[in-house]
């Protein structure tokens, strides 16, 4: 147990106390008590930066189930630290923001903060775990807390819908990922990520390499809302805005990115990895930015923008994986640029997108709407908010001098460099990469402009607003102010980050490209001269401006797209039919009739026993020495069989009871013949008491009716019964000749007198050798007699008149049903 473990568990532990703050200190907003957790954790992780920068990687293990290689191993390296800083840093700002966003009296804020802390701990667990199974556990926990937070306003149907959707899609991916992890375990024999990376020679070239990669990627793509799994993210926007800013743009959706980065050392170098990660990333990038333009809800714009930016980071990680192919050579440096851009943009995206979400939250909070058709001209009312929105959007659009510009330039560089690749068939399709990147940037520019200018400039429409807008309170402005200042600082002085955060993070993603003790040297420059990238940026601005100004002319194109063929319709239909078929399927066999259930049980018994008998070739005719049979015994068998066969045909209760009694007494006789005196005695007593009991109850039970059932019903019963009889005969015949183990009976016979001093072996077994069995047998009898006593004596008063009504109406209902049937 190290401080690192404690850092992961602290949010969980603290969450237990949160409801008590809410209950006993009602005067103060619970958020103030929560705020210290992320703030202190952030300070802790900042203090670890110099360590990690120096190449020191902390590793500490708590044993959990060592025999199954399951240990809670906390591992802090560059990549984990970068994510931990994002999680705690943005977390602290979001908690501060939520204090002003969620009223302390109106909302169930205690649950809100419990879920939020749960998420924070789970997310830290994801990025700081070395063991894949532990990572998976935390991963699903983030899905769960995301589900709870999306459904925070659970009285809204849309919230519930969005929560369910996100849960189904991300958990589906999570399961796939788990399967991928298990495949990795099968290949390497370990769940530890470090050890898997250490045994790469086993993994590459293994038959399971590709399936494992696909399954792990499925987990990453669903979590990070990559095409075509992105559909859950827009619906997740039903969550309170602080949640959207935190989970659905800055941290949780980047878990997939994290996983891809973490697994790069394992899978990178393969062509499938390169094309899948890059390709899916680019498709998501262009589709997300294209869809964002048509949205009218501010949060929907941001949701699609997040999808597209996640695609961007994903594609960069894909391009960067090409470097692994070249290994330690000069050429690989060309492609590590992409990884650098991915890491840098990850941080930048968290800053500007977090700020933009908070800005949108402010607009929503102060005007009561997020619909850009109702908004406009807010610049006069909210000048500070407008400034934040402007800077955030310009950064997102990739304009200088903000951090988004730098990472966008790097993205172009990476996309252009990739064309030089001479592997993975890039020669044929490579040109598509920079073209897609450039086009997507144009759309990004357009929606960024829509976001800021449609909201804050243009005509003010007071008649469409419920409240008069005004500037937000300081508490709501402070968190975005921090993020916006970071946007500017990282834009002007990017090298603050490069040595401390980015270099160690890259070292974790691409360890194979470093000699021991070596580091990546990252220097980010603002100006590179008149390169291709700068012309691409100018092109983006020019075309973007044109498209934005002519938006009304061409936005009608979106209406031309087929509305019924969307992924959402596919999802809804799928869910609907799945539900319906599952319902129908279950109803068709869960009929509520005991007889049907018994039929299933007996049928399966016949099938399984029959299968095993024939499969193991155990069916045989008795071949050993047979016991002799006298004429009396033969007659007895015949009488017993005849009595048994007569039972179903008995018309009256007495006949049936006496016939069963006859079978019982003949069995007693058999016990005598077959040298079992104790059995004979016991059976005799029990049989006598049973028959007496039967006759006692007989008075109270209804008369035997002739079974009024269809022939089909009877025939089915008969077939199943005959099957059971046949299979039992086979077993009885085969068992005679089969002896798999030496019997322990000899031990009982020999030890009976010496060990226990008893001459009746059966008695000795019961009371001595297996004494506990007999004790429990007596207990069973005791329980049965208590049950019988209770059933006879207990007359429960019906307190609930409704219950009385239903049970008294039951016979009526039954007779109605019977009538219905005969009719």
């Amino acid at each position: 147990m190290s401080l690192l473990h404690f850092a992961i568990l602290a949010p969980f532990i603290y969450a237990i106390a949160v409801p008590f703050f809410r209950k006993y200190i009602r005067g103060v907003h619970t958020g103030w008590f929560v705020l210290p957790v992320p703030a202190l954790l952030f300070a802790y992780f900042i203090s670890r930066v110099p360590d990690v920068q120096g190449g020191h990687k902390e590793l500490s293990t708590v044993q959990w189930i060592p025999s199954m290689d399951l240990n809670f191993t906390a591992y802090l390296d560059g990549l984990g630290l970068m994510f931990a800083l994002l999680i705690t840093g943005i977390g602290a700002l979001v908690v501060l923001y939520s204090i002003y966003y969620l009223g302390k009296d109106k909302e169930a804020i205690h649950s809100f903060y419990v879920y939020l802390l749960m998420f924070m701990g789970a997310m830290l667990g994801v990025v700081l775990s070395d063991n894949l199974i532990v990572l998976y556990g935390f991963w699903e926990l983030t899905s769960l807390s995301s589900f709870l937070l999306i459904a925070f306003w659970n009285e809204r149907a849309k919230s519930r819908y969005g929560a369910q959707k996100s849960m189904l899609i991300t958990v589906f991916g999570g399961f796939a990922m788990l399967a991928g992890f298990v495949l990795l375990y099968i290949m390497t024999g370990t769940f530890s990520i470090r050890e898997i990376i250490g045994s790469l020679d086993v993994v590459t070239g293994h038959a399971l390499f590709l399936p494992a990669m696909l399954l792990v990627l499925l987990g990453a793509f669903t979590k990070s809302a990559q095409f075509p799994f992105h559909i859950w993210l827009p619906d997740a926007m039903e969550a309170p805005t602080p949640v959207s800013a935190y989970l659905h743009s800055a941290t949780m959706v980047k878990a997939g990115i994290y996983l891809v980065a973490r697994m790069t050392p394992v899978f990178a170098g393969a062509a499938e990895w390169f094309w899948l990660v890059t390709g899916v990333g680019l498709i998501t990038l262009i589709w997300g930015s294209f869809s964002a333009v048509k949205q009218t809800d501010l949060k929907a714009i941001l949701a699609f923008s997040t999808i597209s930016q996640l695609g961007l980071i994903m594609s960069l990680l894909g391009m960067g994986s090409a470097a692994v192919y070249y290994g330690l050579s000069d050429e690989s440096a060309l492609y590590t640029k992409a990884t650098l851009a991915a890491v840098f943009h990850l941080i930048n995206h968290a800053t500007f997108k977090g700020a933009l979400f908070m800005v949108v939250g402010i607009v929503d909070h102060e005007t009561g709407t997020r619909d850009i058709r109702r908004l406009g001209g807010l610049i006069n009312f909210m000048p500070i908010t407008f400034t934040f929105a402007l800077i955030g959007s310009f950064s997102m659009a990739g304009l200088p001098p903000f951090n988004g510009f730098l990472s966008k330039e790097m993205f172009f560089t990476a996309a252009l460099n990739v064309m030089h690749l001479e592997i993975f068939n890039v020669e044929t399709w490579g040109i598509l990469i920079p073209v897609t990147a450039w086009l997507a940037s144009v759309f990004t520019f357009v929606y960024s402009m829509i976001l800021v200018f449609k909201t804050f400039t243009g005509k003010y429409q007071p008649e469409k607003l419920d409240v008069k807008p005004h500037e937000a309170p300081l508490g709501l402005l402070l968190p975005p102010a921090v993020l916006i200042s970071l946007v500017i600082v990282f834009g002007l002085f990017p090298n603050i980050l490069s040595y401390r955060i980015i270099e160690p993070a890259m070292a974790s993603i691409l360890p194979s490209l470093l000699m021991p003790g070596d580091i990546f040297e990252v220097k980010i420059h603002f100006w590179h001269g008149w390169t291709d990238e700068i012309f691409m940026t100018i092109g983006v601005i020019a075309l973007g401006m044109l498209l934005y100004l002519l938006l009304d002319r061409w936005s009608g194109l979106y209406g031309k797209l087929p509305q019924k063929l969307t992924l959402n319709t596919f999802y809804d239909r799928g869910l609907f039919y799945l539900d319906r078929w599952a319902n129908r399927g279950t109803r068709s066999y869960m009929t509520g009739s005991v007889r049907d259930y018994l039929i299933y049980i007996f049928t399966f018994m016949i099938l399984i026993l029959g299968y095993v008998l024939f499969r193991t070739d155990s069916v045989r005719w008795y071949s050993g020495e047979l016991a002799e049979i006298s004429i009396y015994e033969f007659v007895l068998v015949l009488v017993m069989v005849a009595a048994a066969l007569a039972v179903p045909f008995a018309r009256s209760r007495v006949t049936a009871i006496i016939l069963v009694g006859a079978v019982g007494y003949i069995v007693t006789l058999f016990f005598v013949i077959l040298r079992a005196p104790d059995l004979a005695l016991t059976q005799m007593i029990v049989e006598t008491v049973s028959v007496a009991l039967f006759l006692l109850c007989f008075y109270h039970l209804p008369k035997l009716k002739k079974e009024m059932s269809h022939m089909r019903f009877k025939l089915g019963n008969f077939l199943v019964a005959a099957g059971v009889g046949a299979i039992m005969t086979l077993i009885a015949l085969s068992a005679n000749d089969t002896r798999l183990f030496t019997t322990i009976s000899d031990y009982f016979v020999e030890g009976s007198y010496e060990l226990s001093g008893g001459k009746n072996v059966v008695n000795v077994i019961l009371v001595d050798f297996r004494g506990f069995d007999t004790l429990l047998e007596i207990a069973v009898l005791g329980i049965a007699s208590l049950g019988i006593f209770a059933m006879i004596k207990l007359r429960l008063e019906r307190k609930n008149p409704a219950a009385a009504l239903t049970s008294s109406s039951k016979p009526d209902k039954g007779s109605k049903r019977r009538k219905g049937r005969s009719a």
Binding site: V594, Y622, V647, V660, V667, L674, H700, L781
Partner: protein, 112 residues
Amino acid sequence: MEILMAFAIGILFMVGTYLILSRSLLRIILGTSLLTHAVHLLLLTMSRLKTGAAPLLGEKAGTYVDPLPQALILTSIVISFGVTSFFFVLAYRAYQELGTDDMEQLRGRDDE
């Protein structure tokens, strides 16, 4: 004799199963009774019949029949007696409360 017993056991199983599948509670109880008898005979037959004297050491015989199935059966007889009587009282009470012993009418409601 074992072969004859095997077939007798099969028939007992068949009749027991058939009765258990029927609609009247009384028949079901009688069915379980027959099933128990069948199981006992099966256990006994499995260890071969008449291979020696009864397992009483006082007999001073050279070989005894296998005592283990007998011990099992003895336990089973007692338990099945408990089960049968419990079943009976259950049927009696169910009939008293609900007015029917037809399993088809004792089905759960659809909305459960």
